[in-house]
Point group: none
Chain length 327, copies 2
């Protein structure tokens, strides 16, 4: 038995969560029984998708789940050895004991920081890779538009398209992200949809039309892209954050898909298990060669989980927000 801490939600936040909505709870983590492992947390991910969960799906007075990387400290399960690094979904726990379901051994590349396995080499990366290359059926040298290009998925999509020799235009909502996309990532054009008229700016930036529009937003951003779609264009749909909960404007330009024979298709990361080996090989190479850029905001210490989660909704992160619990 080992003393450790979990983060619980103790009340439903109104608007942006506050530190008082959470509690650190001392727990005794049982030793691994036969078939079990005990894992200590190293890196914990905080993500925007967690916010709506706080309103209902997340039970009060229970540990908050989420993605993480940990180290096996006890193993009585033949699939794991003590010292193994693992990926898991147990979330905001310093330490936990499990039968190993949903836990996967991670063999990180020694030349890359472990944190990249929580974004470019994790679910974010395979979502971008499979969505663009398989669902979007990207061909080298095509004309590509990416919404939320400064975000976790969008920034990987935009860079894969650049690596494939495409002309890439990204939209984002802040001048800082726009500058990073233009100056560090090197996109062909960047549009700040908060300060420019998206439909006009996108049309001006893409005089040869759009072969692939990678959709994270929906609503007005989709309406801006639709009239620009080229014959046999594709719209892989990763998200439609503007239209969740029935909000935002309806989409009015869908009839553009008819004569241009555009294919719109939804997907989720789980669809791309068959691409995993190619993805890991490609992405590891791109990261090691410096062709794939990323931004991270890493807070040090388990104590800073609420601060990290709250910071997401106050825009205090640049790129992926992570909590480093232990080296």
């Amino acid at each position: 038995m080992t003393a450790s801490r979990d983060v619980h939600l103790i009340r439903r936040p109104k608007g942006v969560p506050t530190p008082e909505d959470f509690a650190f709870v001392e727990v005794d983590t049982p030793d691994a029984a036969d078939g079990q492992i005990q894992v200590e947390g190293l890196i914990i991910s905080v993500d925007p998708y967690m916010r709506p969960r706080l309103n209902a799906d997340q039970p009060l007075d229970a540990p908050m789940p989420g993605g993480g990387i940990g180290r096996v400290v006890q193993s009585r399960n033949p699939k794991f050895r003590e010292g193994d690094l693992v990926r898991h979904g147990e979330g905001m726990r310093e330490r936990f004991t499990t039968d190993g379901r949903g836990v996967a051994v991670l063999t990180p590349d020694p030349d890359l920081p472990l944190t990249v396995y929580m974004h470019a080499l994790g679910g974010t990366g395979i979502t971008a890779y499979g969505g663009l290359l398989e669902t979007g059926a990207l061909k080298d040298g095509e004309q590509v538009a990416v919404s939320t290009a400064g975000g976790a998925v969008g920034s990987v999509v935009a860079q894969i398209a650049r690596i494939k020799g495409c002309y890439v235009v990204g939209s984002t909502g802040s001048d800082e992200k726009a500058a990073w996309l233009r100056d560090v990532v090197g996109l062909d054009a960047v549009i700040n949809y908060k300060t420019e008229t998206l439909s006009k700016a996108l049309a001006a930036a893409m005089p040869r039309g759009v072969d692939v529009y990678f959709e994270n937003v929906g609503g007005a951003q989709l309406d801006a892209a639709l009239p620009l779609m080229n014959l046999h264009g594709r719209i892989p749909v990763c998200g439609m954050i503007s239209t969740y909960n029935g909000g935002g404007e309806g989409v009015r330009n869908l009839s553009a898909i008819i004569y241009k024979r555009v294919r719109m298709q939804g997907f989720v990361a789980n669809d791309f298990g068959h691409l995993n080996a190619a993805f890991l090989s490609d992405m590891t190479g791109w990261l090691k060669s410096g062709r794939m850029k990323y931004q991270e905001t890493v807070l040090d210490g388990f104590d800073r989980i609420p601060e990290g989660l709250i910071g997401l909704f106050e825009g205090r992160n640049a790129g992926k927000m992570l909590i480093k619990v232990k080296d």
Copy 2:
């Protein structure tokens, strides 16, 4: 040289076209020169796809193209003989002279009326056949929803799906069409979207969800179908007539395609040339055996072309709208 008339678009319609948007223009049709034929129109098709063309692609003060059946009255081209029946795309012309490109000799089945070659055995039929079976990738026994099921394309789609053993629900906008679909065509359920709440009625009629939604309408009808789509459902998009006259609500439920991995894809009849032999064989058989029912609205006289086209957007047709110019 022969005096005849063409129908021209003379101004861009606002909303539903009016008779004043069109003009009958007297022309002198030249005699067939070497390599040419002269054709007199017998049957002229008016179709929903023509509406968006009126906004931009259709030049003003020029004949409006479209499908038709005519008879060769002069031939100086070895591919055609005087008296041949032909299909053509010259549209709204009483008579025209051409080198024969885009004109195909038609050898109608003597047991079928000539008009069926303008719908079930024409562009309408191949649109329905290819859109449902290829773009929609229909599998036997699936759950199928069809919008404008009383229309030219929709009624063929619904019947092909029935022939393929599917459970088929159609929506239409009049009780007469609903009765025809229920009593003559034999659909599993029929919804009159003008007298019922479409989203509720569709959900009630399709308790096993929707594998293929054949889209002719867009707007509210698409919003009703989206939440019912099954995993890996398909939405072949043939038309979005609700948006053609600039009206209609935006589409709000598109995010349903993400987790269900729905594929929406536009297409046009020309995409299915490779299916033509199979289509003609299947459809001729279905028509002659009486398994494929159809309705036609045939207006008599070249003068009635604008009335026919406008009537399409006011729902005044039962089945395929045709103009009979001459026997």
